[in-house]
Amino acid sequence: MYAHDTLLRETLITAHAQSWQAIAAPGAFLTGAQRVEVVRTTRDALFCELCHKRKQALSPNAVAGEHDYLGPLEPEMVELIHRLRTDPGRLTKAWFDHLVQAMGKETYVEIVSIVCSVVIIDTLHNSLGYGVPELPTPKRGQPSGEVNPDAVDDGAWVPIAAGTTQMADTGLPVVPNIARALGLVPSAFSLFFSTFRPHYALKDINLSISQSQAEYVAARVSAMNECFY
């Protein structure tokens, strides 16, 4: 992974390699094979005809049909993966409620963490002109079933990690809500934020661009993805 690039930080290269291996291992609710299938499906979503039609429509709910998918994942899982990959800005609470009825919030959170980690890794590869990395080889074993018993309902669609009222000098809480978002499933939280953390910091960013340049890029991406947070 990133074998030829000397301009990426070593911490990032190492973190992504570890994430790739973590994806291939059993998670909390999915096997290693299922998790690798989530990676494959995340990539294939970009070529799905239904997703393409929905993206063009005034509302994604106005277009019915089936996703281009031939594989072992349940239809609701495929819907989650494809929509999250191709049209994240128009996800709704009713859509979420429908999906979690079928798979449960815990599996939902696990899939979200994998898709979003893959998006980071593949986006960086593609933007630097590399092909995306090969799928990892699934590791054997059973899912752990581990959830965070201390997760709380704090206004998100899913229970999130408990927060703190302590404020940082950025004007944000020491642990902002986004850093609590996947806290229902510890391994999902760990996968995503291990992937994300070497890319960015809220202050004193350790990159050659300034904090304001990084914040501009971050804000522009958020706007393009129609992200409220």
């Binding site: 990426l8 005034l58 509302s59 709910n61 106005a62 999250l84 800005g89 128009r90 996800l91 609470k93 009713a94 979420f96 979200v112 898709v115 979003c116 998006v119 980071i120 986006t123 960086l124 593609n126 933007s127 630097l128 002109g129 998100a156 669609w157 999130i160 950025t170 004007g171 944000l172 809500n177 986004i178 609590r180 978002a181 996947l182 995503f192 992937t195 994300f196 890319h199 809220l202 990159l207 050659s208 661009i209 300034s210 304001s212 340049q213 990084a214 914040e215 501009y216 890029v217 971050a218 804000a219 522009r220 991406v221 706007a223 393009m224 993805n225 129609e226 992200c227 409220f228 947070y229």
Partner: protein, 122 residues
């Protein structure tokens, strides 16, 4: 909020409106290059990426280009975490950015607004 604060701290005057209105200059150093790199990346326009990267490298240098793309990739992922979990704004952020959200159109991205807008077309 962080864009405004960090920009002021560095002695610049970032135009928050430029985040949603691409006809405006961002007001941060090399803002136009950053915008082009970011938009090409998030649109997945890989055919033109080498050309855009090359142009940006001539202005910013290769390390800054790689680091800008590093941030873009990260936020392409974390925005999806926010969108998929319906995570609410932090209380202080919600309070101090209310005017800015209305001014820039970001308020339209609120999860309750999206649900009302798209679910009724179901």
């Amino acid at each position: 909020m962080l864009l405004r604060a960090s920009s002021a701290q560095e002695g610049h005057n970032a135009d928050l409106q430029s985040v949603t209105d691409t006809s405006l200059s961002p007001g941060v150093p090399q803002g136009d290059c950053l915008a082009e790199l970011t938009e090409t990346t998030i649109n997945g326009d890989w055919l033109h990426m080498a050309q855009i990267r090359g142009r940006a490298e001539a202005t910013m240098g290769p390390q800054q280009v790689v680091d800008a793309l590093t941030v873009a990739a990260a936020f392409n992922g974390i925005t999806r975490v926010a969108d998929a979990t319906g995570i609410p704004l932090d209380d202080n952020t919600a309070a101090v950015t209310q005017d800015m959200r209305l001014q820039t159109g970001i308020e339209n991205f609120a999860y309750a607004s999206k649900s009302a807008r798209y679910d009724k077309l179901n």
